[in-house]
Symmetry: C2
Subunit: 432 residues, 2 copies
């Protein structure tokens, strides 16, 4: 692994796959077809892309029970405990509606309302990711979203993976459809005879899913379009090269585009880590992927001072940040941009991916400068509340009308004037 | 104004101007030029579009003082009071960092951090909108954003409007540039010699500004691309046609695309309001605009029951909702989708536009189903905090590794295994 001394500011920005023109056209066509022809079009695309004919895409109670039976006891326990921890953490993110009252009788406030319906996309194919289902469904459930819909492309046998169905069942997700790709995003956005539309679509997917989400954004809300995963480890001489190397590689195995970076004040640790990465890499099942990520997108930076190292971390604004320093809590307040901060050598990033409680859907590619982990608020929206009293109107109406005229909005001003003129004496009475 | 009985569900969706291909190309070119050539390109575009040569775009202390002197006393008072009210409301939106500790020594939490820098776009031209400056700057200030940059296109005399500069001065905005259009968005996104880049760009603008914001989204964050403004009034027989008409027209005067809708259970009120709209329209300075909005995008719906009327309002998911009913508070809990809810006949929408306290930047075009008013959170981001204890790792490590293997991520599992193997006995000690 490449060791360089930290000079010019490093960057994590990699170009996210925006898809080819052909891919965009294909996706635009799919969206259009599903919008116009609904279920029929969805079924055709499922035949074309998933190589299976699905008459009724809705997953049945039987399928859910079969899946549960097929999953081993250890797996059940692990998933149940993970769900418990993650739900517990997200419960603490819940926001309450509030109001504030003024002496003149005016009441102002902010109302929190859950979205009506959320759609969660679950990728199919080789690897099923129950953790992704948990991390996308729980914030919506805690927010109070009444209708949560899951979609996932069927295998050629016309079924979904047992682990996917079991996780959904454990979470209490009841509306699940065996559809995937851009056609699933279209069905969730525009609705079909069998699938009602949703307000927000989250969850990872391939380039076609990502493009579809980009194109429907505005009609529905979406989560971020995630870039390749990344970890930055900040370490002083107290860090352990073998632990750090293992954590760097756990990022690297995700994707050849993944990025694993160590910023350390210790040249010795830098060299120790480089050796460990090389050794541990040899026996990894996903050796080729990890090797590419380490070679092309990963670096060890040696900094002169901890302050310089921290500055570099803030420049990187990483998705995951691990602090392997003697006093990690002394550094937290200095970290300005990071999706998740892991403190101390015990806090290996996979703990956050699966089990600890916080969400693993995190801002990538430097967007931690302005984006947050997926959270309960993402499945709620706010409405301002304004109940203006007659006294407040009498006292402030003139100023409000004057402000409106300042902006040449005469009708705005007159809406106030007419109330000041007619006031309480005005015919019918209302209970405002 | 058109009166129809409420049958099929109404919709507020209007197609938002996405710009022509030519416009998109132009904006893409401008972004590219400014990214490559910086200040020089910005100056050229200012000459081309604003018809003035600006050597140094930075607004000086002198200009700010001159502007303040030029603004009348009444105006100063109104703006100062508005700022006070709006700041007070937004202070209540502030979120705090929190942590939760577990008996095994684990600490989890959510860190709130303000964005480093925010850019506020202020449209130039005929009408200056101090309220827009206030509504965009205050949430960023309350969030704790250290650097707030304002940009606005210069007039042909090379200056900004006095009222714009005065409002900025009152708010304490010190970094202001006399640049506008797509070139200003580009400068804020990529930075130039004289202007450092920002993390988020908010504020209204013409189609070129809107397109530029769409194109830079991802590199920086932006606020929503707002559609034409809209108001929905929900009224029973206690409503006053003249008040309601005045409020409908205050929306209608914004834009020929604006939408003003009354949903009422009273046929009598419907007719009274229609007459009032017609009459009040005659003497409006912006008669033509308002007339077009009323004719093309506005309707009065008569509902059989209040429940039916409320359902229609939730279908519409309006930007502004006024409740002119005998008991507006009885309805609030039934309103699922609205940017701002105005309760009672005194709560005319302009009160919220300028003075009450809540933000006037609201979701339009039905996006209140999933979007919120501009608020303090929009200028902060969250970071998850995970400090896992050695005890927790020993107790849960096995499960975490098992979960990782469930997803075929062996390197993830090994990052846990290596810690379980070496554990506390591991060479150097860290203070995690």
């Amino acid at each position: 692994m490449n060791i360089v001394s930290l000079e010019e500011t490093p960057s994590l920005k990699r170009s996210i796959d925006q898809g080819t023109g052909t891919q965009r056209e294909a996706v635009t066509g799919i969206l259009q077809q599903v919008k116009e022809r609904g279920d029929e079009a969805v079924q055709e695309y499922t035949q074309q892309f998933d190589k299976v004919t699905i008459a009724d895409p809705r997953v049945t109670e039987e399928e859910l029970s079969e899946a549960e039976a097929a999953v081993g006891e250890e797996t059940r326990t692990v998933i149940r405990e993970a769900i418990e921890n993650i739900r517990d953490f997200h419960e603490r993110q819940r926001q309450e509606t509030w109001i504030t009252t003024k002496e003149d009788g005016t009441i102002l406030g902010q109302k929190i309302t859950p979205l009506d319906a959320a759609g969660v996309y679950v990728p199919g194919g080789r690897a099923a990711y129950p953790s992704s289902i948990i991390m996308n469904v729980i914030p919506a459930q805690v927010a109070g979203v009444e209708r949560i819909v899951m979609v996932s492309p069927p295998q050629e046998n016309g079924k979904l993976e047992d682990i996917v169905l079991f996780t959904a069942k454990e979470l209490g997700v009841k509306e699940i459809y065996k559809i995937g790709g851009a056609q699933a995003v279209a069905a969730l956005t525009y609705g079909t005879k069998t699938i009602d539309p949703v307000d927000k679509i989250t969850g990872p997917g391939n380039i076609f899913v990502a493009l579809a989400k980009q194109l429907v954004y505005g009609t529905v809300d979406i989560d971020m379009i995630a870039g390749p995963s990344e970890v930055v480890v900040l370490a002083d001489e107290s860090g352990h090269g073998d632990y750090i190397a293992a954590d760097l590689l756990s990022q690297a195995e995700h994707d050849p585009m993944s990025s694993a970076i160590l910023v350390t004040t210790s040249r010795e640790l830098a060299e120790e880590t480089a050796v460990e990465v090389k050794e541990q890499l040899q026996t990894l099942p996903k050796k080729e992927i990890a090797e590419a990520a380490i070679r092309d997108h990963s670096t060890i930076y040696v900094a002169d001072t901890l302050a310089q190292a921290i500055a570099a971390v803030n420049e990187l604004a990483p998705e995951h940040l691990e602090l392997h320093t003697a006093k990690p809590w002394d550094i937290v307040s200095k970290i300005k941009h990071a999706g998740a901060i892991f403190l101390g050598e015990n806090s290996s990033e996979p703990i956050g991916d699966y089990f600890a409680g916080p969400n693993h859907v995190l801002p990538t590619n430097g967007t931690a400068r302005f984006s947050s982990p997926l959270n309960v608020e993402d499945f709620t929206k706010k409405s301002s509340i304004i109940s203006y009293s007659e006294q407040a109107l009498r006292e402030n109406g003139g100023k409000i009308a004057a402000f409106a005229r300042l902006e040449n909005l005469e009708a705005h001003a007159r809406a106030i004037d007419i109330r000041l003129e007619k006031g309480a004496g005005h015919g019918k009475t209302t209970g405002s």
